[in-house]
């Protein structure tokens, strides 16, 4: 599959601050790429460069094989950019707002009317078309932002924190909308801090920290990579310290951490059967209150990777 977005040694400096350092990234057509990183890691800068709003200091960024900076005019009709804030013209209503941006994409006449109506229907905003943009709720505004970027049917969507500050219902609605767009074949690059949702939505992810890309690839891989061994959470009714002492003698167990009322037991690599743990505790007369294998998801992977657990 052809890479729709490609960056080669992409570097961006603001004075002495290095916002991006030699970023190498490839996103294929139809991919939904989740861009994760702490605040100030360089996510928005990368998205802005791809949206032709910033010039890289060094390196190259390509969108649909066009080079940012040299062929920005060819890139703009192919992308839809949603920033991490809502750009609202305070004196426009929803329909005017969409017509305004449709005209910016050279859509005029009956074609424009049809597209605007279609997009309003797709984003379920038809009943709000006379409402002033300034008076919309945050969720509605974000939906309107998505409606805006769909007007010219772009190949690539660049979404910078589209679900930030949304209430749970608006977030779920947004996620469903993005899933629909993915089904329509759009290539989506989305940055977000809500990792479970990215896991649900994206097939690939990239983790960036201090301007450097730590990982890029399928999220399942990163989760596996973050696994350092199987971890069991085990709770006993009393004498937790004694239980920990008994288990620590077992050669299959690498480490035990006692937490708030339960033990975090790290099994040695290659140990797939953990049934010996409850058996040994019951045999020693302990009453089990908890037995659960830790699930490694994107969130845990992110925490481990960005804390430098995996280099």
């Amino acid at each position: 599959m052809a890479a729709v977005i490609k960056t080669v040694n992409l570097t961006k400096r603001y004075g002495s601050l290095v916002a991006l350092s030699n970023l190498n990234l490839e996103i294929n057509e139809g991919d939904c790429f989740g861009f994760i990183g702490p605040n100030g890691a360089g996510k928005s800068t990368t998205i802005k460069i791809l949206a032709t709003l910033l010039q890289p200091t060094w390196g190259e960024a390509r969108v649909c094989d066009y080079v940012v900076g040299y062929e920005s005019r060819k890139i703009r009709p192919l992308i839809g950019y949603v920033p991490d804030y809502f750009g609202a013209y305070e004196d426009m209503c929803v329909l005017e707002y969409l017509e305004f941006f449709a005209a910016a994409y050279n859509l005029n006449g009956p074609q424009r009317t049809k597209i605007v109506n279609d997009v309003l229907e797709l984003t379920d905003l038809g009943y709000k078309k006379d409402a002033l943009v300034d008076g919309l709720s945050r969720g509605m505004k974000q939906r309107l932002s998505i409606a805006r970027v769909l007007l010219h049917d772009p190949k690539v969507l660049l979404l910078d924190e589209p679900a930030g500050n949304l209430d749970p219902r608006a977030r779920i609605e947004m996620r469903e909308l993005l899933k629909e767009l993915r089904r329509m074949g759009k290539t989506i690059m989305i940055s977000s801090h809500i990792l479970p949702e990215l896991q649900d939505l994206c097939n690939t992810v990239g983790i960036i920290e201090q301007g450097e890309l730590i990982y890029a690839g399928p999220w399942t891989e990163i989760v596996n990579k973050a696994k350092t061994g199987r971890v069991l959470h085990v709770g006993v009714a009393e004498n937790q310290a004694q239980a920990a002492a008994i288990l620590s003698q077992d050669p299959s167990i690498a480490n035990i951490n006692t937490n708030n009322g339960y033990m975090e037991i790290l099994l040695n690599e290659g140990v797939n059967d953990h049934t010996f743990v409850p058996a040994r505790l019951i045999q020693a007369g302990f009453k089990l209150t908890l037995l659960k294998e830790e699930e490694v998801n994107l969130e845990t992977a992110f925490m481990r990777l960005t804390k430098g657990l995996v280099q």
């Binding site: 802005k48 949206a51 032709t52 709003l53 910033l54 010039q55 005019r73 703009r76 009709p77 992308i79 950019y81 920033p83 804030y85 809502f86 750009g87 609202a88 013209y89 305070e90 004196d91 426009m92 209503c93 929803v94 329909l95 005017e96 017509e99 305004f100 941006f101 449709a102 005209a103 910016a104 994409y105 050279n106 005029n108 078309k129 006379d130 409402a131 002033l132 300034d134 008076g135 805006r148």
Partner: protein, 699 residues
Amino acid sequence: MLGLTDYLWRLLPANPILVRVVETASKRKRDLIIRCLYLGLLIAVVLFSLGTSTTSYSGMSLGDLTKASSNIFENMSYLQLGLVALLAPIFTAGAITQEKDSQTYDILLTTPLSNGQVVLGSLMSRLFFVIALLISGVPIFSVTQIFGGVAISSISLSFLIAAATAFVTGSLAMAIATFKVGTRRTIFSFYMFIVLFMVGTFLMDQMEYFKIGLIDPLTGKPSGELSQTSWLTAINPFLALKAIFHDKRYMAPGITLLPPNLQRFPMGWMLAWPTTFYISFMFFLSFLLVMPSIILLRRMAQSTNTIRGFILQKLKLSTGDKTRKPRAVWSNPIAWREAKTKASATRASFLRYGFILAGLIAAFAVVLFYSRQMPVKNWVDRGSFNAAENTLYIAGNNGGTFMIDPARVQVNLGDQQKNVSILADKLQVISFQIANMGKQRFVSVIDLKEIPRALDEATSRKYLLGLVILEAAVILLIITNAAASTVTREKEDGTLDLLLSTPITSHFYIWGKLRGLVSFVLPLVAVPAISCAMFVTYDLLRWMGNESQFKWLVLPEAVVLLPVTLIIVSAFAAILGMQMSLRCRTTVRAVMSSVGIMLGICGFLGWCGLAIVEGFRGTDSLSLAFASFSPFALMAILVDPYQYGGRVFENSDPSEILGARVIMVIFGLIATGVYAAIVWSMYKSMVKNFDMTVRKQSR
């Protein structure tokens, strides 16, 4: 007692808001530059005044020295007040949007700081810089003390006038902010209100209507004289300042010269001592504006509705519902937004149509008053003189039909002797002498004069010129504001990035903006042009009526040259505003700097143009050619050539006047071409550098 002292100490000297500003103010580079420029200007005025007073002080008498000193003081005081009037709104206007712009405002309200501390701290921190500027100018003012001639009290009054002006401006901005009657757009209205108030009251002061009829203190009866100062002297800082210079042409009347009903307090104080009244009144007004803000600050902050919204809902003009019928968007969305959304907003429509209507009504009223002839006792008109029968009918009380001998009758128009053909014009008969020759009564001498009008020619021109200049100033302020806020507002709203990620090019964007601005402002430009056209039409009707004493009231070429000049100056204002809008990060900064630059350029060009016409009195054609390059001077000459056109219009040689007019038209058009080239090159450079400038600022 200790509690009160502590409260007062915390209210201002130890007010944390003020302390923060005072501590950081001296470290800011921008403040240092402004302070240097301000003091530099004051020093320049002193040196200029010293240089122009005389070439050598050695031969000057003490009287001359004191005169030179008071001249320096006068110039410096005007400059100081002008700069304070210019800077105070700039520094205080920010208060209007503090709630919206500043994230710290809400936090401040949740602290134990009292309302008084918040309001006064905010007010004083905004005024601190202006007050600091005033104080820094004291050593320069003391130069006048070397020569004498200027009383310390006059210097103190001059400083107090400037300080009172700054305080009332700041207090007004604070009141607007507290009572939520302002938005970001209000900043411009606020600025314009202050400029228009000062300019308007200054111009109105010239009108006799606002002067006071004085009495003879001995008899107590009207003396028939009017005061030099007016009702407006006590409310305009420049007039109040003018009154302290002991200028023989602008002295406040003594209290005993005022009619008895105006001698009482506070009228007597206002009219007889306008300067001290101005200072006291403005400080009192500041207090009145600040007190409700202090009392109601937190209550108003808790309110979710604005006063405007509340009033509109009470009047059932608004339901509070945030919906509107959508309008059709043009194919150039940028132009559409500039022209439509701004123009069709209720307030903008009201202002725009209000401006057009007021301008046209005012011009029509001046034409009407000019055309209205006052009733006279006796007059002659077309048909009065019968050349076939040699009779003259004099209308009016002592009139009748008389014989006339064209060869012997003496016809005087003013102090000029005229031919009998003039008797066909409508003229007032001041007096006539009858000689009896047999049974027939012959008119031997007849003294005529123009029938007085409700507004005479010179006053009509003065009014029209005032109107045109005021309209031009308002148009330029409107377009400068609209242009200066156009890009910064998109930066602030976050919509610029959205537009930049679309296929819209810099050329398309800037052209769209300019097109929108022009279509927004074009109907306004038509107002002064139509005002002049009304006079020219009336003149044409007079001319067709074969009035032998015909003289254009307004030069007819004004109908073409005036709008052309105004359009090109507006285009310059628009492009300058857009340049500043592109470079500045905030709307307030862009608007204030653009307006400041425009005022400076227009003032400088206007002064240069009129100074050239005055200065080159020996070579009038050359001076007119140069003056045509100054838009405001050109407007003044077109509308009132006899006052501002120099010597050539003062003499009555028609061929010389015609030559001067031709030169003015040619050079006026050349000047327009030059300005158009400047505007075009600024536009091209803006298009070229747009991407770089905007992307540099991308957040």
